[in-house]
């Protein structure tokens, strides 16, 4: 296998037709395998646990010739600004961060969306200080909900791999052209070795075509790139206010326009187990895996429990979730964070919120024993709010 002789293929071919082999690897290694096939022009990163390993591995891909340019930025704010620069110049960018790194870089994320930059970023979520913790916790997702990026939440390394591979094609559609964040619960996915089916054919995704961008790419020789050089804020009048408002609405609309493209590559926005059961668990990310284990335990005790797994957080599958929970009598939302952002999202789209158990919640680093979810199923009021 050589980086030089890879044949360019469509995302559909890569996901559904290319020959795969099952390998035993960590989630970080799954990132390397996805990026190997993604025809990345440039990756800029700054290491932060638990993201460091995958970024190191992307660096190895640069050494092997699979990624054209790679550098370590000064810090996360610099990295996300530099990644924006690359995307504005019309090249395919990839980066990754987590937790405190996400927050340090934060100003850039709404800017990416507003500047219509199709950057793909992996978030290996981590607890937010203080107290200092490097452990898994996905509270940063609640902070990113309204930054204008598409947010996909992978359950395991396999889904992480597939979601990364599909994201470039979604992000780069002319009618979408906004950033895609692919999220996993740090450590639980990044540091766990598991079976992953990866593409072994000598193929890579088709390259990014900047001519498909809805905004002009920066070219110092060829104006205009006025939306950054000569911003509306310099003119305080109704035209500039209206321009800002309509532009922001356009970014929100582009998330919605991504739905069919996401669905074609990822399948339905939700996945279900036991749809008829009166008790339903709603979860995303690693909480789904813990819920699946809990459902098996409950089943062995004769209690049937259903699952609604949410794969896309932005756009949020409001109609699908509402329909899936129409007849549920009890709805349990286990989460790996303190605030219960998924429970809030679910509560905002379904009637009769008194059916909900907003928990159990584990945050700050521990795993969520399936036994605790089983307790919630059985009505232990300590397992939710």
């Amino acid at each position: 296998m050589s980086a030089k002789n890879l044949k360019e293929v469509s995302t559909e071919y890569m996901l559904f037709k290319a020959e795969r082999e099952e390998q035993f690897m960590t989630g970080s290694e799954a990132v390397r395998e996805a990026i190997r096939r993604s025809n990345i022009d440039m990756s800029i990163v700054y290491p932060i646990t638990p993201q460091s390993e995958s970024s190191h591995l992307v660096g190895d891909l640069y050494a092997e010739g699979y990624v054209k340019e790679y550098l370590r930025g000064e810090n996360e704010f610099a990295v996300m600004s530099e990644v924006a620069g690359g995307a504005m110049a019309g090249i395919r960018m990839f980066t990754a961060t987590c937790g405190p790194g996400t927050l340090r870089a934060f100003e850039n994320f709404p800017m990416w969306s507003g500047a219509r930059l199709p950057i793909v970023i992996a978030f290996m979520t981590r607890a937010i200080n203080a107290p200092l913790s490097i452990q898994p916790d996905n509270i940063e997702m609640s902070m990113l909900l309204d930054t204008g990026m598409i947010m996909l939440h992978a359950e395991n390394a396999q889904e992480f791999y597939d979601m990364l591979l599909m994201s470039f094609s979604v992000a780069e559609r002319t009618s979408v052209h906004i950033p895609v964040g692919v999220f996993v619960d740090g450590f639980f996915v990044t540091h766990t070795r598991q079976k992953v089916k990866v593409v072994i054919e000598d193929v890579k995704l088709q390259g990014y075509d900047p001519a498909m961008s809805p905004t002009p790419t920066i070219d110092m020789e060829t104006p205009p790139f006025r939306y950054m050089k000569d911003p509306f804020v310099m003119k305080s009048n109704y035209v500039s206010y209206a321009a800002h408002a309509s532009w922001q609405q356009e970014c929100m609309a582009s998330i919605e326009r991504a739905r069919p493209y996401i669905k074609a590559l990822m399948g339905d926005f939700i996945e279900r187990e036991n749809p008829g059961a009166p008790i339903q668990i709603v979860a995303s990310g690693t909480a789904v895996s813990q819920s699946r284990a809990a459902i098996k335990m409950a089943e062995s005790e004769g209690i049937e429990v259903g699952l609604v797994k949410i794969k896309s957080i932005r756009p949020f599958p409001a109609e699908e979730v509402k329909k899936a929970l129409a007849t549920a009598q009890k709805i349990i939302v286990p989460e790996f964070n303190r605030v219960g952002w998924l429970a809030r999202e679910v509560a905002s789209v379904i009637p009769n919120n008194d059916r909900m158990v907003k928990g159990p919640r584990v945050f700050g680093g521990m795993t969520m024993p399936p036994d605790v979810i089983v307790k919630a199923i059985k009505g232990d009021t300590r397992c939710g709010v």
């Binding site: 390993e53 079976k195 098996k296």
Partner: protein
């Protein structure tokens, strides 16, 4: 946790190779045609600080992830885990399932406290003391093979993975064909152990000798 999943918790000191041992056992289980997941305790690694790793092995799909709270098997890589409380889980057998197995590496067997022994008796736990470090030094020529000796102990006591699969997994991990990405401190230890042998094959050969010897000793303990 599904009863059909075998859960192994390994407690040791940073640098003893508990994470590498978990990796090799997990790989061996996959080579044997089973499902396995492997993960370390999620934290910053430090030499001689408590270190923990976890392996789940099953014929079915494994969903539950993260640290193992209710293990079937506990492997203790250093007596300090028990005697000095160098452990994330206190007591060291917290969460052990009924009829569980404990394998302790120690140069000499030692008594647990009265309370600990009473709890272990109530759990009907089987405890095996093995001189993994001593045998690693005598047969493998280095303390760094302690983790390999512990894998031998596990195979001897439980037969959870086959010896052939362990050898295959060792080749994958140390053979040099597949590039393994280790953390900085693990990479240093990898270099240290590889420097002891002229070739990767010699390292694997020495490791297999340690494995076979400890496994045989463990088997005789079980038989007794």
């Amino acid at each position: 946790m599904s009863k059909k999943t075998l859960s192994i918790r390994m407690s040791g000191l940073g640098g003893q190779g508990a994470v590498t041992a978990a990796h090799i056992i997990g790989s061996a289980a996959v080579i044997d045609g089973k499902n396995a997941t492997v993960n370390p305790f999620f934290g910053a690694e430090k030499r001689l600080a408590p270190a923990e790793s976890y392996v789940r092995i099953s014929d079915e799909v494994i969903y539950d992830t993260g640290e193992i709270l209710y293990p079937d098997i506990i492997m203790v890589f250093h007596p300090d885990v028990i005697l000095s409380g160098k452990s994330y889980t206190m007591p060291f057998f917290a969460g052990l399932q009924q009829n569980g197995t404990i394998i302790v590496n120690s140069d000499f067997p030692f008594a647990f406290t009265e309370d600990e022994q009473a709890e272990l008796d109530a759990l009907n736990a089987k405890v095996y003391f093995l001189q993994a470090t001593l045998l690693a030094r005598e047969i493998g020529g280095t303390d760094l093979a302690t983790n390999i000796a512990m894998i031998g102990a596990l195979v001897g006591v439980t037969k959870v993975v086959s010896m052939d699969a362990v050898e295959e997994a060792l080749k994958e991990r140390f053979g040099g064909a597949a590039k393994f990405v280790a953390s900085a401190t693990t990479a240093v230890l990898d270099d240290a152990i590889k420097a002891k042998y002229a070739k990767a094959e010699k390292l694997i050969e020495a490791n297999m000798k340690v494995l076979t010897a400890v496994s045989a000793q463990a088997e005789s303990l079980v038989a007794a």
